[in-house]
Amino acid sequence: MPQKLLPPAPDELEVSVFGPGYGESVLIHVGSGIWLAIDSCIDPVTGRSAPLGYLESLDIDPKTAIDLVVASHWHADHIRGLHELFSTASAAKFCCSSALCRKEFTALGKLYSGGKSRIPLGPEELYRCLETVSERIRTTGQSHLRWATADRLLWQYVSGGTPPSLVATLTSLSPSDSMISRSLKFMVDSSAAIKKGCVKARLTAGSPNDVAVALLLNINGRKILLGSDLEDEDNPLFGWSAVMSGMTAPGSRSGTFKVAHHGSVSGYLDDVWNTILEPEPLALLTPFRHGKHRIPNAADRARILSKTSQAYISAHPENVVRPAKKPTKIQGLMDGAIRNRRLAAGPIGHIRWRASICNPADKGTVDLFDGALALLDVV
């Protein structure tokens, strides 16, 4: 059997990062067959949620295996396929920022979900997830939703036995109260403008990202920092500075980092690398190719590599993949109207790190699939 298709052992930790160039998803095996999914992106080849396809390729039933789905925020590059993932993982609980449940945002999601546009908009995907959450609560009478805010324990697992062989916790580090307040204003203003009839036909990502949920996973003392698209603005009430002012992160030291905001300078805070990450951490990231944006750029890559040589990226940040040609007569007309035509995303690159749960000193193994590469090798 190809190595990629071998599932992790019950006592093996796995962090898989998927990203085709536009899109990001993280799938984590915390041990004992329990999986957590953070965000979703689409495999351009299959059109399906990448983490879902991966689990199925391992012959693992997502219906029972996925215990928790986290929507770190609503942007299209993090949320495509999330409803497919969450609805398939029929026993999973759900977490997102409470700002995303406000009526201004959900009303947009509802409006968008009734449209026929095939351009992914973001709010409608989240709205469908929240509808499914609602159905599960009504059907089972059990809690299926927990809001992610700064310093909040979201999920935990303690195995049987004395002492327990596996203790795992997942804590949200953001968004802070100030971020939530500002994001609500953004949503109210945006939805009012869109409903009133502005030219802009869809809610576009605001900057900085005020709803990004950064997470800290602790598995038997081994810590993993998942940075989502959290940015910083040198204000202790917002972004990474707020995380550093919080109660959870300053006391931790993570050996693995899902680098925030695709390695961009806006997601970088020196204090994060110097204070709450171990020296030479394992850094995992996805690129962001959108329009003329190419993240991480050369300066971003140099900055990350100055902090660690163990950095891996799911796809080349500057690769240009040309689409298939259309029939000659149509192609000729297209060439006259558009230039630099390219695929929005390439193959779904996949970084997979596996390590022993029982031995926290085990550095583990990194496998790179389908175009993922070491950041050092990005030319």
Binding site: G33, I34, P44, V45, G47, D67, L68, A91, S98, C101, R102, K103, T106, A107, G109, L111, Y112, G114, S117, I119, L130, V133, S134, I137, S143, H144, L145, R146, L154, W155, Q156, Y157, V158, T169, I194, K195, G197, C198, V199, K200, A201, R202, L203, T204, H290, G291, K292, P323, K329, I330, M334, G336, A337, I338, R339, R341, R342, L343, A344, A345
Partner: protein
């Protein structure tokens, strides 16, 4: 194939369309859900003659109002769509006189694309080009009198397309969902299901 939304949106209007062709994709009742004061459309025998004068308000379907074109010639008799993309503006590059767009192929099952278009090609729609704006890019064969030519056409959509009823309904449902979920925040961290 030309569908009725093309007519309603003003695409290649002011000509006569084969009603059978139009109704191949849409039911007959559809045209009359459009308010006549927003779109002059009349049925003549087995053809539809459509003359757009203002934005059509689709009551129950599209969330968007399509900008009425003012540039069609009255002598376009037929249009056959060969390739269609739905696009969204990613960025406007004013220095270069272009905008970058993401494209979804509506004709074939192909991966999403990106590319740059020239603003000057838009014939008056430039003011609609802002990040987030949606448009359609259609390539097809157009018959004008006895002349056939292959044309490329970019048309921007704009809001408001949400009717007051749709907004009110969505807000009511959204508020109900938000209110319900607001009370469902789990009081304690989730405990993993035992394996």
């Amino acid at each position: 194939m030309t569908n009725l939304s093309d007519v309603l949106s003003g695409r290649d209007l002011a000509g006569r369309f084969d009603i059978k062709q139009l109704l191949g994709e849409r039911e007959l009742a559809r045209p009359f859900s459009v308010k006549d004061d927003y779109l002059g459309s009349r049925v003549y025998g087995n053809t539809v003659e459509a003359t757009a004068s203002a934005s059509p308000l689709l009551e129950d379907e599209s969330p968007f109002i399509l900008t009425p074109p003012e540039r069609q010639s009255p002598s376009i008799h037929r249009f056959v769509k060969e390739q269609e993309f739905e696009g969204t503006v990613v960025a406007v590059n004013e220095d270069e006189g272009t905008f970058t767009a993401r494209l979804v192929d509506l004709t074939n099952n192909c991966p999403d694309e990106e590319g740059e278009f020239f603003l000057a090609e838009l014939n008056g729609d430039e003011y609609l080009v802002v990040p987030g704006a949606l448009f359609t890019w259609t390539i097809g064969l157009q018959w004008r009198n006895t002349t056939m030519q292959r044309v490329s056409d970019i048309r921007f959509r704009r809001l408001p397309g949400f009717t007051r009823e749709a907004i009110a309904k969505s807000e009511a449902e959204a508020e109900e969902l938000a209110k319900f979920l607001d009370e469902q925040d789990a009081p304690e961290a989730f405990a993993a299901r035992p394996r």
